[in-house]
Amino acid sequence: MSAQSLLLKEAAGPGQDLNAQALRADARRESLRLLALLAPSLFLVCAIIIVPIGWLFWLSLFDETGAFSAANYARFFEQASYIKTFITTFKVAFIVTGACVLLGYPLAYMLSQLPRRAASICLIFVILPFWTSVLVRTYAWLVILQRKGLINSWLIDLGVISQPLSLANNFSGVVIGMTHILLPFLVLPLYASMKTIDTDCLRAGMNLGAGPAATFRQIFFPLSLPGLASGVVIVFVLCLGFFVTPALMGGGKVVMWAMRMEQTTSLYSNWGAGAALGVVLLVVTLALLGLFQWLLGARATGVWSSR
């Protein structure tokens, strides 16, 4: 009896599992193999993201003479032109994102409700400009919007206006051009998320007594929010670093962050100041992404709470 209980104790004791050592070694080997498989991509991430950004950050800590200083960052608070550029950039980003939402939501909604064939044909019209060069499209807008452009000459011919409207080479030109270029970035993720909304959910809403408008407000819209949010984030972040369109359509009057960077590095060859601009843009963008993430997370876990 004592021999039997001893045997049981041994079998149940810690570290006494059958083949325990071999199994542990096998587990170790497996994690090593997985790490080896991951190594190329880890190296790539390091080489093309972490190293350049670290270098950028490092560069931003030296002034023009090569001395270690925080002058590049202090400049943001001292020089009014930097603050103005910063404000302009965010103003453009907010207005363009807002315009994209106002134009893109109804468009995506329409696409999502169309029969499959019609929807894919219409989607081509959304994607087609996407494949055309940004530069070409921006010049096309200049042709349309300038003082003697298509819109102004038509409106004058029709007698709607007597003086040409200033549509290009200013703030509104920048907003129009950027909205056009960034619209697909909002429409595509939004359309994709709208397509995943279960039509039975909408039917259930109506069946339970909600009219078409109430069903849209209480069911369709909240369910389309994740797609809208990802579209908004993409458009907003792209706006913050946008260069070609504001440079061409702004007529030198609208200076955005990326244009400032370009000036600082290629015109004044001040790499430290340019790097500082890049770092600030990166930090602000990451902070915004974090904020969106947090808001979205709250949305997803929180329950429906109208009223």
Binding site: D200, C201, R203, A204, M206, N207, L208, P212, W304
Partner: protein, 381 residues
């Protein structure tokens, strides 16, 4: 509050309670006349007429493509018919938009709102009707009790199991006391055990609340288990509308006989006022049908093994050879072939007297079918 008493979650319903509960004020009859629906030029429903009695549990049963789901969608108002009339308690609703029909519906995939928790899902129809917050809370709580989900109101939909979602969908469909409840294959996503359990529960719930229920399924066993009456649909028409036991015992067409329960068909001929299988006289419980070819419906459980010594009055005896015998524990299945090669299936329980004289494959046997169990249907195409 109207209907407050009938929501009490009593496990068993006393006779006195039942008389109060079974006549729900919200139960109304449905009368469908000449419903026509075509998708393009393809007819889906053809001159369909159906009356559902107040408080009845009626099942639309049919294979996919038979039009049963389309009919349900027309009833709910999601699909517009090409023609016809639907009257609920005498009021025409064929052009009423879905949100004004006051019909509860349980969807196949439940269609719970993923952005709302259980409470808000069930409160949704009450909110649309402007029910005050306090009363809403009370009614949702009662609906949750009714489907045995007390205390789960704060759960998110994605935290629920399939069976629980099913119950939430059910609670949401009945919390506003609709005059009619529609169910579109609500149990098809559940596994077998849970499905059978929910069938019993749905049946009990219907008995307590007494709402007029139209249920769609392609599962004949489910239809037989739950329904007061079954409308068997095929090709956009109702082939037969009857109580389950009548449908099973007296199918009117080959399709119904084949769809409900297991059947083998044997071609027979009616001539000179009697029915013949080859040169053998077939006795039937019913009147002899008009002259011409017919099909004899043979259910596996109605057949039995007979011996030559048994008296054969009132029994049709067929000579056959055993092809295979399959032992299934509680029962056995015997596949036998007739002299013309036609296959018949016999199923019986494994009582010891039957087991004792179980034939072996290749052995000739005699299959007995009582005259009163002998059903004839018209031969189709």
């Amino acid at each position: 509050m109207r209907g407050g008493a009938k929501r009490r979650p009593a496990p068993s319903v006393s006779a006195r309670e039942k008389t109060i509960l079974s006549i729900a004020p919200s139960a109304l009859p449905i009368s469908m006349r000449r419903i026509e629906k075509r998708f393009g030029s393809v007819p889906v429903l053809r001159d369909l007429n159906l009356d559902v009695e107040a408080g009845e549990f009626l099942t639309l049963l049919g294979p996919s493509g038979s039009g049963k789901t389309t009919l349900l969608m027309i009833l709910a108002g999601f699909v517009r018919a090409n023609g016809g009339s639907i009257k609920v308690g005498g009021d025409e609703i064929i052009t009423t938009p879905p949100h004004r029909r006051n019909i509860g519906m349980v969807f196949q995939n439940y269609a719970l709102f993923p952005h709302m928790n259980v409470f808000h899902n069930i409160a949704f129809p009450l909110k649309q009707r402007g029910v005050a917050a306090a009363e809403t809370a009370q009614r949702v709580e009662k609906a949750l009790e009714l489907v045995k989900l007390q205390g789960l109101g704060e759960r998110r939909v994605d935290q629920l199991s399939g069976g629980q979602r099913q119950r939430v969908a059910l609670a949401r469909a009945i919390v506003f006391e609709p005059r009619i409840v529609l169910m579109d294959e609500p149990l098809s996503a559940l596994d077998k055990g849970l499905r059978e359990h929910m069938q019993i529960e749905l049946r009990a719930l219907h008995r307590r609340l007494g709402m007029t229920t139209v249920y769609v399924t392609h599962d004949q066993r489910e239809a037989i288990t739950m329904s007061d009456r079954i409308a068997v649909m095929n090709g956009g028409r109702i082939e037969q509308l009857d109580r389950p036991e009548t449908l099973y015992a007296a199918p009117k067409t080959q399709f119904v006989a084949g769809f409900i329960g297991e059947s083998n068909f044997i071609p027979v001929e009616s001539r000179n006022g009697s029915v013949w299988y080859q040169d053998r006289l077939i006795q039937t419980g019913a009147q002899t049908p008009p002259a011409g070819p017919h099909l004899m419906v043979v259910r596996p459980e109605k057949l039995r093994l007979v011996t030559a010594t048994e008296p054969s009055t009132g029994t049709n005896v067929l000579d056959a050879t055993v092809s295979d015998i399959i032992y299934q524990g509680d029962s056995f299945v015997c596949y036998a072939s007739l002299s013309d090669g036609r296959q018949l299936t016999l199923r019986d329980y494994c009582r010891s007297d039957v087991l004792a004289r179980l034939p072996a494959p290749g052995q000739p046997i005699m299959l007995g079918l009582d005259a009163k169990d002998t059903i004839l249907v018209a031969a189709e195409g």
